[in-house]
Symmetry: C2
Subunit: 382 residues, 2 copies
């Protein structure tokens, strides 16, 4: 028996920009950003854009076209419009469509696939870019609060498969992320609010002062105050990026602290046929795991109620009927999601709970009857 | 405008083992290797096996089953048998089948997908493992000379799509590679020989002494002498691994020296509907680019003829009618492959040529009429 040990390191780096305007009437920072990132003039770009965004924003595509008329970068055909939200991620169909455009327009590894949209659209565009030619440079321009402060600045992409959320995907750091504040004006109140629970989550597990900030400014957030949401997005993105860089970016181990409140959230989305949006499901998941932490004597009642009140003041439900859905044998389907969560993660079940606001603690089991009691509690006080 | 720069490093490492026997009557090194690699006893394994291998080896599956009966590792269902050769890589169908097994058997990120087979089977098994749950640990057990000395020890996987070779795939280092010498006994003479051109290639661009070794032992290679093929595989794998670790493992730049002779090879395979095997196409591609290098005054006639003679003594064709296939407009289809090669790679066309045996040189253009003259030359002296 002989062995050759193979060993190498890969350096990953990408900037996350925060700008006020991009293709709107204000300044277009794109040229400046492209220059700073060393994008050369003859480079080719394929745009993949969220259909939901296009419905509300009729200046975006003309804005993109104008930019390319004014510069020597090449626009590969008309931007590809794909369904917004979870519809983008169902099976391989939309991925196939993007791959087709990549093939038709001769997009290569030194070209750029630019995703503009919410988390789901960025997920599928990122996945297609990651597997075409084994990886085309990918630029993410998140357009929702949720994607600007969370998924859009991360290193994952995915689509659903076999009806399971994020069943296939890759870890593929983007080339560049641009968070454009002006895109938030296109959001419905519901979509706007849906980004806030991820910020609460990261505050709960990592930064009590950030949780306090959100608690202090609920009224401003409910009024869609621009300065407040900018601060929230910037700090949440910063904590998210720091966490990824400092821990296990490609999740080789068991731990996934950023998934606090998510084991149930993923399942609630699926059980509601994605009528419950990700942010809404996370809001409920946060409450559920906080009640559970209180029931096992980990979290004080005072802090539990601060969390639940914050979620309620921000106009989120803390309970949904999907929490109690059962299969033919009377098994609670949401709780079955624990097993799927473990499988997706692999290895030992590892669930993040909190022992106080700002301090996460991992546990390796969840008591089913206590989860049920937690549901009952939320139902009662909803 | 604000910026948060994201930055992190990932360490990749995996061992490549060389053993005499694995599931054959001799010693089974698997337990020892699993121990050395820290694979714990409760771990779950899904086997994906080359259908061509199974036709010739009826002790493999019983051998696998016996191993799992004797140890506490868990075998997830019956091994999945998939078509061998390029058929495994046509579109998404086989990938889907493997994903289905991963889903049905609850294979997670801490489980192992073990591919046993030739390069194509390892490519599709590696691709499915890389995208399921964003990456399941993947063990490669290459069974051909070609996969043991070349693709199987590398970091790529892929499938064909839109009729284009390797159009989708990822860079995903395996968890572990095991080259089992005994598997070579299952190979037809044709499949056996098909691994040698990659060794010649790596000698031509990196190691004149290795080229000399192959030249010296052609008779032994034609007789399938065990000691000679072991040496050839070990040295070729070693050069391949060194190259990957020392350069640009995930091919961010333009350079792809290991693809010497490959721009035409990929296209010849496709134009022959994969009747010409990869190794046979590479043998022709090596000769073609050597003639071209001679025609542009880069390579001496003596060395050119050494190369061509070596390829011929090893019983490979140096010319195929596919080299002269044209489309309706009379355009040479193989030469069109240069553009596809550039697109797959991205950026500037970069072709490796050799200025002498053991020394590669990159060029950024290929003169079409000189490529045609090279074809004519090979046709004449075939």
């Amino acid at each position: 028996m002989k062995i050759i040990p193979q060993k190498f390191k890969i350096d990953y780096h990408f900037p996350v920009y925060f700008v006020d305007t991009l293709f709107e009437s204000g300044e277009n920072y794109l040229q400046k950003i492209f220059n700073e990132c060393g994008i050369t003039e003859e480079s080719k770009f394929l745009f993949v854009i969220d259909g939901n965004l296009i419905k509300k924003n009729n200046t975006l595509i003309p804005g993109i076209e104008l930019f390319f008329q004014l510069h020597a970068y090449k626009l590969a055909g008309a931007p590809l419009i794909i369904p917004g939200g979870e519809a983008a991620k169902i099976d391989f169909a939309v991925t196939h469509k993007i791959l087709e455009a990549i093939n038709n327009y001769g997009i290569d590894r030194h070209s750029y696939v630019v995703g503009i949209g919410g988390g789901a659209v960025l997920d599928v565009a990122g996945f297609a870019a990651a597997i075409a030619h084994r990886g085309i440079r990918h630029i993410r321009i998140p357009t929702t609060v949720l994607s600007q402060n969370d998924s859009g600045v991360g290193v994952k992409n995915s689509i659903n498969y076999f009806g399971k959320k994020n069943f296939i995907g890759t870890f593929a750091p983007p080339f560049l992320v641009i968070n454009n504040n002006a895109f938030l004006n296109n959001l419905s109140d519901r979509d706007y609010r849906c980004g806030i629970p991820e910020a609460i989550k990261v505050g709960l597990i990592k930064d009590a002062a950030f949780f306090d900030f959100i608690e202090t400014f609920t009224e401003k957030l409910n009024q869609r105050d621009d300065e407040t949401i900018r601060k929230l997005i910037f700090r949440c993105a910063e904590l998210h990026l720091q966490h990824i860089a400092g821990n296990d970016p490609f999740e080789k181990g068991n731990s996934r602290p950023l998934d606090y409140g998510h084991w149930s959230a993923h399942k609630l989305e699926q059980l509601s046929n994605y009528k419950i949006l990700h942010g809404e499901a996370v809001a409920m998941g946060i409450c559920l795991d906080a009640v559970y932490a209180n029931l096992i004597g980990m979290l004080s009642k005072d802090e539990l109620m601060r969390i639940i009140n914050l979620i309620k003041i921000l106009r989120f439900n803390i309970y949904a009927a999907e929490m109690e859905k059962t299969d033919d044998n009377g098994k609670n389907l949401m709780i079955e999601g624990l097993q799927e969560f473990r499988e997706h993660l692999g290895g030992r079940l590892t669930i993040m709970l909190i022992k106080k606001i700002g301090v996460g603690v991992e546990v390796n089991e969840m008591d089913e009857s206590l989860v049920k009691s937690s549901i009952t509690f939320l139902k009662k006080i909803q």
